[in-house]
Structure formats: C-alpha cells, structure tokens
C-alpha cells in the first residue's frame, strides 16, 4: 500500500556525555553526517520531522523552534512527533508515512536528547498520571523489575537461569558496543561483573541498565524514484507497525504483552515474514533493561515462550549466532532517549546496506528495528530490507 519508501542516509553523533557542545550543535552534528552519507543537501528536503522524549528532559518547550536551524528546517514543512520512549521509532514512522503518502519525496527525521542536562529519573517519574501512579513507581527500573518477575514466575524459569541469561545479554551488548564508534559505554565486562554489580531494583543490577546519554540520530527517507535517482545503496522499508495499550500499569498483561505481540504480527504481515526466527538476519531491540529484552525475544517470536534464556545461553543471539541481536551495543550502551529508537532504525539500515563497518553482520538482508515507550504501553517496529 502507498508507495515504496527507502532510507538513503543516516547520521549519528558520538553519543555520551557531550558537555562539549550545546544542544543545537549536538543536533547539527548528526544532521550534517546524514547529509554527507546520503550525498544530498538541505535544499533537497521536502519536510523535517523531529522529536525528543519529553520537553522536561532539557527544559526546552517545543524543541522544534530552538533546534530548527540545526536541523536545516528553516522554511521547510515540519512535524514534531513525540511518543515517550518510542519517540525515535515514531519519528521514523512519521517520515515513512509522509513519503509513502506522496506528500513529500524526501524527509529528514531527527531524534535528539541531551539527557545529561536534566535529571532523567525525576523527569520520568513526571510521566505517570500525577494523581496516583506517580507515587507508587520508582522511575523506569521499578516497573521493568515487576514485569521481569511476572515473566519468570509464569514460565517457571529458575531464577539463576534468568540471571545468567540476562548477564550474558549484557555482556553481548557491551562487547558489541566496542565495535561501534558512536556508542556511549565502551567497557568490557564479564558475566560475573554483571551479577556482582549493585542492585538498582531487584533483580535488576547496575550492569543490566542503560546509561543516560546525550546524542542525536538523523535519517533521510526518500521515495523510490528519488532513491533510484540518487543511486546510493538504499534500505527499503518492508514493515511498519505500532501498538499502544492502557496507561494503567495494572490493566494489561505485560508478559503476554499484547502491544508487542500484535505489533510484530502486523509488521511481519506487511513484510511477508512467516518465520521471524529463520528469516530475519539481525535485530536491533530497544533494550534499556536486559531482562525485558529476553521477554521481547519471545513476544516477537524469535524464541519460544519461556525459552529465550536457553537460546541466549546457547549462543543463538551472539554476533556469529543465528540471529545476532543489538550489534550496535543497543540502548544498554547508548541511550539518548528521543534518539534511541531512531538509532535502532539507522543501525538496521546500515546493516542491510553493508555500511556497518566493524559491526557488520555478513550478508545481512533483512533486519528488524524496535522501540518501546510509555508506562510499558507502546511497541513500535520498522523492518528494513536490502531489496525493494
């Protein structure tokens, strides 16, 4: 439906603690890189879509104004998409629909966050409804811990096995980040290091958790006609899906997690995927917490129910395994929230176009990128392929 849409270029900042630059300068660093990568100029762009997590993160209202010049958005049609943690993915979706609808031929998508300028956990606890839930949650780790406990109990997975699998996932991500020039946390750790790191919110420990990062990601989407004319190797959008569920944390089942399950179902249908475990070449999962990613592997059909721990312990998700996960090092190593979902898209695009350098998965042709957000409410996906 609609017309085919391609990604023709991506750009990222060196993510991390970027007190060396102002927020607009940080944004421009990625935008410039995306233009260089695609070989086009700001003049070629028909629209710009941007977003951050909440305005409260950096204390700037409607960031499109302040950052407009840095995004080369002056005089351009703009949109501003914000959907909490999934913002980066929703920005990619906006750019996709904009081109797919025929309303624009080339759209620049920019996700940005300068988390280290605010107090991120305090900001996040301002997310929940201010009357009630705000007081019962302890920022993001609290609710993720609850989901994990529920999952392990439901499938009768021994605590020690969950612990080992999550620790190994942390090690895999951190090893992967060593190959990524843009990654924030680059430190080799062992399974023992993870298991001995301080408890944040049981069972989650420090090395199970993402950092706070400054960073920006920019991605250029183009119509088939434009992509072919420009002639650089393009990543083609094969599936786009998003689902949201109730805001009240207690209303839904976060193990048989409907927003994740149904989102994947829609994306697979669009992409013509029937066996994701076999057909996908790599996945970029939005993984602020190790334990949750294990559950997502199951919700997305990569692993059977209750078996994600076995799969990871058997090397299935390793860089040379059957389905490499988070070859970028994931959100676990780099987390500028408003950019994080778009970084997943950019990394998937780089993989299927063979531009991922030291972290390239050989022969990658079909990649899944993911983001989640809200009070465990939102899951969004974009599946990219090397062929139209």
């Amino acid at each position: 439906m609609g017309r085919p849409v391609a990604i023709i270029g991506t750009g990222q900042t060196k993510h991390g603690n970027r007190r060396d630059v102002s927020y607009p300068e940080l944004v421009r660093e990625a935008v410039k890189a995306a233009f260089e990568d695609s070989g086009i100029t700001p003049k070629d762009i028909d629209g710009v879509v941007s977003g951050t997590m909440p305005s409260m993160m950096e204390g700037i209202g409607m960031t499109q104004f302040y950052l407009g010049d840095a995004m080369a958005a002056v005089g351009k049609p703009i949109l501003k998409t914000e959907t909490c943690g999934s913002t980066g993915m929703s920005i990619a979706h906006t750019a996709y629909y904009w081109v797919c609808s025929g309303e624009a031929d080339m759209v620049l998508a920019v996700g940005h966050e300068k988390m280290r300028e605010g107090e991120s956990q305090a900001v996040m606890s301002s997310c929940f409804d201010p009357f009630y839930q705000k007081y019962f949650t302890s920022g993001a780790p609290g609710i993720f811990a609850m989901q994990c406990q529920d999952w392990a109990t439901r499938y009768n997975i021994p605590e020690e096995k969950v612990r080992d699998a999550a620790a190994l996932l942390s090690v895999i991500n951190r090893d992967n980040a060593l190959d990524n020039p843009y990654a924030h946390i680059k430190r080799k750790v062992t399974v023992e290091d993870v298991k001995k790191s301080p408890i944040i919110s049981y069972p989650i420990r420090l090395l199970d958790v993402c950092p706070n990062s400054d960073g920006t990601c920019a991605v250029i989407f183009a119509s088939e006609e434009k992509a072919k004319k420009i002639g650089t190797k393009a990543a083609w959008v094969k599936g786009v899906a998003y689902r949201g569920e109730e805001y009240n944390f207690g209303d839904g089942d976060k193990v048989e997690w409907q927003s994740a399950i149904q989102c994947a179902k829609q994306a697979y249908e669009q992409a013509g995927i029937t066996h994701p475990r076999k057909e996908l070449d790599l996945v970029e999962i939005y993984n602020p917490f190790t334990f949750q990613e294990l559950l997502i592997f199951e919700c997305f059909g990569f692993s059977e129910r209750g078996k994600a721990c076995d799969d990871i312990l058997n090397g299935f998700y390793n860089r040379d395994g059957e389905l490499p996960c988070d070859r970028s090092g994931g959100v676990l190593c780099t987390n500028p929230i408003g950019a994080a979902g778009l970084i997943r898209v950019a990394e998937a695009a780089m993989q299927v176009t063979g531009k991922a350098q030291d972290r390239q998965v050989e022969g990658a042709r079909l990649a899944l990128s993911h983001a989640l957000g809200g009070v465990m409410q939102f899951n969004g996906l974009m599946i990219l392929g090397s062929e139209l």
Partner: protein, 154 residues
C-alpha cells in the same frame, strides 16, 4: 480564575537542569564579562550574527570568524511590559526591545532602561524606532546575558 467545584491537584514541577553552552556561546558570554559583544561572520552570506553562532542558520555552514561589534546600536522595535509572568527578569513596568548593534547584520533581544517608564506617552517619545542605544554594564559580571544590564537611549 474561579475555583473548581471538584477537587484539584495543585503541584509545581521543579526540575534541575545543567545546560551546556558549547564553545561558541562560552566565548560569547565570556566576552560579555570583558564588556565586549561578539558576533560571528558567515563566509557565505557575509552576515555578522549576534549573539555569535557556531553555524549560519541560512547557509548551514560552520562559522568561526569572530567579530567584535559595537556596544551601541539602533532600536528596531520595543514593547513596554506591564503584565506579570513567572520567571520575569524584573518587576513590571519595564521595556524590552530588539537592538541592531553597529557592525551586526541581525538584532539582539534585550532590556531597554535608564529612563522614566511611568508615563507611556513619554516612553513613546523617548523610544522612536531607530533610536540610538548603548549597552550599560552590570558591575558584577558572571558571563551571563545580564552582564549587559540593559540598553540605554543615547
């Protein structure tokens, strides 16, 4: 505002921030400490932009050609603020305006002060558009925009 008949939840959201100036604005604000106002000049459109920028918003190229502009300039437009809002720089009434400093191609937003503001007609007489103004410096300077205390008609 009328009070609601049902219960309201009154709260203030106060969050700490620490925003990076980056090298360009660091230099600009350090300049203010020395009573110097800096702009940067775009080598493509040749405009001198004040406050200084690290890139030209129109040409989208890096700029690093520093130019000290005059502490004097002309008033482009102004308003006399008589209403109150949170985080105001001072108690109303006060005037704010856009000032095009000599040597700059764009205007700078700042306060306009140093004259009697109680009579609107007199204010209008004092501040015709195009009025020459000059920076008045604060005694204690912190590398902050209010190191320029205000601009005063000359």
């Amino acid at each position: 505002m009328s009070k609601k008949e049902y219960k309201t939840f009154d709260f203030e959201l106060s969050l700490p921030y620490r925003l990076a100036y980056g090298p360009t604005w660091t230099r600009f604000f350090e300049g203010l400490q020395e009573e110097k106002i800096f702009g940067t000049k775009c080598h493509q459109c040749n405009r001198v932009l004040v406050p200084a920028r690290s890139f030209c918003p129109q040409c989208f190229v890096d700029i690093d050609d520093w130019v000290q502009v005059s502490n004097e300039g002309t008033l482009v437009t102004w308003a006399l603020i008589s209403f109150e809002f949170y985080n105001q720089p001072k108690k109303p009434p006060y005037a704010a305006g856009l000032i095009k400093l000599d040597g700059a191609d764009v205007s700078m937003f700042h306060l306009v002060d140093g004259f009697d503001m109680n009579d609107l007609d007199k204010v209008k007489e004092t501040l015709p558009i195009g009025r020459r103004v000059k920076a008045v410096w604060s005694e204690e300077k912190k590398g902050h925009i209010l190191d320029i205390k205000y601009f005063q008609p000359i």
